[in-house]
Symmetry: C2
């Protein structure tokens, strides 16, 4: 499993926030229950999301979490980076950039890792939380009558 529960829970919880949430703050208890995730573990996940400026927290009763920006301005890449750290494949190929390594000229795999990193980055930075929810809502309106090729 390349992505840990931190990243998966976090992404699912944010999508949940977009899908079920209104403008009102949603307490973690609700999200945790709905998604079947330990509440206190989720607290730690949301602490990271808050520090990354992805959600805002409102304390006290009727408090909870809200997105810090509209859902279509928050990319999946941003979320995963906040929760999983930089998603590098090899130390010399981190998200499109090249870090120096003492074997650059003899390394036979650098360009492969770079190419793959770039492809992954492309998907991560072009998908927003809104996209995730839109896809589910489209599917909910009844399956497309055309041949299911996805």
């Amino acid at each position: 499993m390349l992505i840990s529960t931190k990243g998966r829970y976090g992404l699912r919880s944010l999508a949940d926030l977009v899908f079920y949430g209104q403008k009102k703050p949603v307490p973690l208890r609700v999200i945790a229950e709905r998604q079947g995730i330990s509440e206190s573990y989720l607290e730690q996940v949301f602490a990271l999301l808050r520090k990354a400026g992805i959600v805002n927290a409102i304390r006290g009763s009727y408090g909870g979490y809200v997105l810090a920006r509209p859902a279509h301005q928050i990319t999946v890449g941003e979320v995963l980076k906040a929760l999983e750290g930089p998603l590098t494949l090899a130390s010399c190929a981190s998200g499109g950039t090249t870090t120096e390594c003492d074997k650059m000229d003899t390394c036979l795999t650098i360009s492969f890792w770079q190419e793959l990193s770039a492809k992954i980055d492309e998907v991560l930075s072009s998908t927003t939380l809104q996209d995730l929810v839109d896809k589910v809502q489209a599917a909910r309106k009844g399956p497309d009558p055309r041949k299911d090729k996805n």
Copy 2:
């Protein structure tokens, strides 16, 4: 780091085998030294590669390892799968296929993980060991005089 040293060392060692190797078996000691990797650790890596049918081993003096098939028939995906196990992102989205989960219908992230898995698979299964080496050898012949846009 999404890929552990097992996968990275293994891929580099196989590329080394293609790049420097002739038809003659190459002992691990040579690869380990050339790539700066612990030899006994590399033994464990090659044990996995052998079990996966990627390399053949020849014991005794003048022994070593050779590729079990031509380099252009061995994909990077095959190698990484042998060393890292299945490269699933989430349990429900493993390499293009969909595993059942008890929240399929309410899960907001499945299709994203599937899309990403598919993109990764595309790169992994279309890149061979020969491709890795070709790219380095092309670069060795002097950089392309055209604008460097890669």
